[in-house]
């Protein structure tokens, strides 16, 4: 439910762009901004909380299969640039 009203200042060009896009997609400028918030901020945050743990657990499982000693990380990168 939409219950909070806010004012925001936009650049003229951004506003004109949103006007065009809103007309094209047949939605309001407010709806475009709400969609941008969902896509830009909420998606990033939900990835952060759910996927991060899964990825870290996966990486740690791989560590068990690769017991490494004395890795020169810089040398790995520099050699890889050449070959």
């Amino acid at each position: 439910m939409l219950t909070k009203r806010t004012n925001l200042l936009l650049r003229k060009t951004d506003y004109q762009f949103l006007q065009l896009l809103a007309r094209k997609q047949e939605v309001s400028i407010g709806e475009l901004i709400r969609r941008a918030i969902d896509k830009t901020y909420k998606e990033r945050l939900s990835f952060t909380l759910e996927q991060r743990k899964k990825e870290v657990a996966g990486i740690k499982r791989l560590w068990e299969k690769i017991q490494l000693k004395k890795v020169d990380y810089k040398s790995l990168i520099e050699y890889g640039r050449k070959y």
Partner: protein, 144 residues
């Protein structure tokens, strides 16, 4: 609801740190575990340059060539690397070029430095050379 959201802090990581994260040796493992813990709890965001992918993939490829890891393991590592969703930020190549000349470091390394400077974030590296030279320009540089 919004009050409960804690925004994570961020650090710039270079390819040596990301490689250490994916292929840790005994020495760096304790530090890497700490970074990953913070990352998985959403307390820490990792940021890097657009050059990161080239550098990390080069490093993983070398690890195969040097028989440190198998191709199969490497492919899994690469998948995890991309799924970590490290933010790639654009760098100013002119500033990067100037750092490279001034500090006698590669364009790649100067890029990490330029990004840390621009974003006012700390730079983490496992590269001694970058750490030593970077200290001259950047206060917040951490050696892994």
């Amino acid at each position: 609801m919004a009050e409960n959201i804690k925004l994570p802090s961020k650090i710039v990581v270079d390819a040596s740190v990301v490689l250490a994260l994916l292929l840790p040796d005994e020495k760096v493992k304790p530090k890497i575990v700490k970074i990953l813990e913070q990352y998985s709890q959403g307390k820490l965001d990792l940021v890097s340059t657009q050059l990161l992918d080239f550098e990390v993939l080069n490093g993983i490829k070398t690890a195969i060539l040097r028989k440190r890891i198998s191709k199969e393991i490497a492919k899994k590592i690469v998948s995890h690397f991309f799924r970590l969703k490290i933010q790639r930020k654009k760098i100013d190549f002119r500033i990067t070029f100037n750092y490279s000349l001034k500090l006698s470091i590669s364009i790649y390394d100067a890029g990490y430095l330029a990004l840390a400077k621009k974003t006012k974030l700390s730079l983490a590296t496992a590269d001694k050379n970058l750490f030593q030279k970077g200290k001259k320009e950047l206060k917040n540089i951490v050696f892994l």
